[in-house]
């Protein structure tokens, strides 16, 4: 409709650019962590993830043993390849690589171009060719190993090592199953309870209905924090303690107001004729609910299920309070926030991989069921 006034193309371009900039700002951080989850520790600290697809120049140190020297024309010569060092084998598979610069001192590891000749500090000269071939030449015999520095071009590499480490050694596999164990019952049970209550609030006439709806709206806002101490004490008193049963009950209670509110809003909008005519035909409320209202409310049920699943899957607070702290009951958010950030604080590859293990399921749910999610959001907020 806005086009009728003849929108200027300049404005249209500005809109395209502004949206593109915003999408990039919203997307880049996630992409950065995702790319980093496929890089190892050294790559992450040596070069930014934004140049991950490009080869990078890294500096290495190697020691050349003195026992390989030969005496040629009165000079002592060591010929070797800088890539032969066992400790560098993982960087140079097959002992091949490309040297760009080299040096003789740790303070200036890239002083000379590959192929040139440099003075050694202990006397003598050093040449390192681009293919890694090093020639050390001196008038006196080499007595100690010589330390060399060189910079080599490393092609981009992709590794799944982080994911393997996280899933095997760091116990994310266990945490994944725990998260699933928490999320699914905590999603299924509130739906049923809420659906019956929502039907009563939407289609049954009784005294106090208005007050009850107002209560649900009010409880929607009650901060979770209030519930933590009294309920944990209650759970301890009745013998549930910190356990999966406790967290299922807690999530059920906390999820109910939103469930009832969403479902009631949706059910009120169902066509009155269908329900009235079913009543006239002699259907009981129970039959109307199970045969008519429940199937028709599927979109709202799906929307709430997605919400509740994302919420319980991503929750940190309730899991910290209602589950015991041991590693066999930790969910993934607790594992990452309490365990990995502490013990692996600087190891971004591991942290990134752990984050994406925990994000995979919500992202799949999100992208496959976005339609229902949007519909649910709208049912809850727009009148």
């Amino acid at each position: 409709m806005e086009n009728i006034a003849g929108r200027k193309s300049g404005v249209a371009w500005a809109v395209h650019l502004a949206v593109a900039a915003m999408v990039l700002l919203w997307l880049i951080p996630t992409v950065g962590l995702f790319v980093s989850s496929f890089r190892d520790r050294d790559q992450i600290s040596q070069s930014g993830w934004w140049i991950a697809p490009l080869p990078v120049d890294l500096t290495f140190r190697t020691r050349v043993a003195a026992d390989g020297q030969r005496e040629i024309d009165g000079a002592f010569v060591i010929e070797t390849s800088v890539f032969a060092d066992d400790s560098l084998a993982r960087w140079f598979p097959g002992g091949a690589g490309q040297v760009t610069r080299f040096g003789t001192r740790g303070a200036a590891p890239t002083e000379f171009d590959a192929g040139t000749t440099a003075e050694l500090r202990g006397g003598g000269t050093l040449t390192i060719a681009a293919d890694g071939q090093a020639v050390l030449r001196s008038g006196d015999a080499f007595e100690r190993p010589v330390t060399l520095y060189f910079e080599a071009r490393i092609p981009p590499r992709v590794t799944t090592q982080n994911y393997e480490t996280v899933l095997t050694a760091d116990g994310m596999d266990r945490a994944f199953i725990n998260t699933l164990t928490v999320a699914i019952p905590a999603t299924v049970i509130p739906i049923l309870i809420a659906a019956f209550a929502a039907y009563a609030l939407a289609w049954m006439d009784f005294r106090g209905r208005g007050v009850l709806i107002a209560c649900v709206v009010g409880l929607l806002v009650v901060p979770l924090q209030l519930a933590l101490v009294p309920l944990l004490n209650l759970h301890n008193q009745i013998g549930i303690g910190q356990s999966f049963l406790g967290i299922w009950l807690a999530h059920t209670g906390f999820g109910l107001p939103l469930a009832i509110y969403l479902l009631r809003n949706y059910m009120v909008g169902l066509p009155r004729d269908i329900i009235e005519s079913a009543r006239v035909d002699g259907a009981t409320d129970f039959q109307i609910f199970t045969r008519i209202v429940l199937p028709l409310s599927f979109p709202a049920l799906a929307a709430f299920a997605i919400f509740q699943f994302l919420w319980t899957w991503n929750d940190l607070l309730v899991a910290k309070v209602f589950l015991p702290a041991g590693s066999d009951t930790q969910v993934m958010t607790v594992k990452i926030a309490d365990d990995l950030l502490g013990s692996r604080g600087g190891d971004w590859g591991i942290l990134a991989a752990a984050a994406f293990v925990s994000l995979a399921v919500p992202l799949i749910v999100f992208f496959t069921m976005q339609r229902y999610l949007v519909r649910g959001l709208l049912a809850g907020s727009v009148k």
Binding site: I44, S45, A200, V222
Partner: protein, 326 residues
């Protein structure tokens, strides 16, 4: 029993238990207590219909009462007792809290969050909704801006911790700074006061998609005639937006704003993961967690302060709901 099996059993027991309860209670009501026969079947049917709503509502009311209504009272009472819970100290916990500099910082930061996050998220969301409205690739753009909604607060914090990292080869902010020739890298999480804004932005990043989706639907609901008339009267795109469209969706903007406000008062995950409350970044939910398991009296007192801050929103929400029902 392994937890997974326990989970399956719980689903079965929960689902069958619910169905069995509803079915059995209805059956009992219709066939045994008030059967539609006998001397006065009509009266029995009416009586049954009086009771039935409460059968449908009972499990929900029970759970809501126990898990949300009772804690409001329970927390308040607990907050009047000392750490061990055996001595009544009146408002002692509250007095101690307001004397503690950490609490005052958290309270101040929390008000900062309450103003900045909903405003920024609603603003960005409105902008995104309007700009993507007639774009050929608008749906893809919306989907990508909406995506952080699916990400946990912990995951989002990790994502942004990476962006904020000190090392210019890791953190984008410091990479951009060093590309422009700035000297030493800065740790934005440790800059006094301003670090709060960097942490808040994570929440804005997550919530903008939510605001965008709802406001976008509201924008589409605006009657075309008003826009048409404004264009014919010569309104430019900016006047059209601010003076014709925004006033018409004000109600929805307020709903989005309050929803995000409420969320801000619940979320402790971001501060907990980013700083653990160090460098003066505590907000009330995270400050409360620092007392959890240590001093229940203090923890419940902080929680109740949050409740008091939420109260105006709650009252406004209930008033709105009552208005709609009429």
């Amino acid at each position: 029993m392994p937890p997974v099996l326990q989970g399956l059993v719980t689903i079965l027991v929960g689902v069958f238990g619910c169905v069995a309860y509803f079915y059995a209670s209805n059956w009992l009501l219709d066939r045994v207590i008030f059967p539609a026969r006998g001397p006065d079947p009509g009266r029995n049917i009416n009586r049954a219909n009086l009771v039935r709503p409460w059968l449908f509502l009972f499990p929900a009311i029970f759970a809501l009462g126990l898990y949300l209504a009772y804690p409001v009272v329970g927390s308040f009472i607990r907050s009047l007792y000392n750490r061990a819970g055996d001595e009544f100290i009146g408002l002692g916990n509250y007095i101690d809290l307001f004397a503690a500099p950490g609490f005052r910082t958290a309270l101040l930061n929390n008000f900062l969050w309450l103003f900045v996050v909903p405003a920024a998220a609603t603003g960005f969301g409105l902008m995104a909704a309007q700009l993507t409205d007639r774009l050929s690739w608008g749906n893809i753009a919306k989907s990508l801006i909406f995506m952080p909604m699916a990400i946990s607060f912990v995951g989002a914090s990790l994502i942004w911790k990476f962006v904020y990292a000190n090392n210019p080869d890791i953190g984008l902010i410091n990479a951009v700074r060093s590309a422009f020739g700035a000297g030493d890298p800065v740790d934005v999480i440790q800059i006094p006061f301003w670090n709060n804004f960097f942490i808040m932005f994570i929440m804005v990043w997550i919530q903008t998609g939510f605001a965008m989706v709802i406001l976008s639907a509201a924008l589409r609901g605006i009657p075309e005639e008003t826009i048409e008339a404004a264009i014919l009267d010569g309104a430019g795109p900016f006047r059209l937006f601010f003076q014709v469209k925004v006033p018409q969706i004000m109600g929805t903007i307020v709903v989005v704003w309050t929803t995000i406000t409420i969320l801000v008062l619940k979320v402790f995950d971001i501060v907990y993961t980013m700083t653990g409350g160090n460098f003066g970044t505590h907000i009330l939910p995270s400050y409360m967690m620092s007392f959890m398991f240590r001093d229940d009296g203090r923890a419940t007192a902080v929680a109740f302060v949050i409740m008091i801050i939420v109260l105006p929103v709650m009252i406004w929400n209930i008033a709105q709901a009552r208005k709609e029902m009429r």
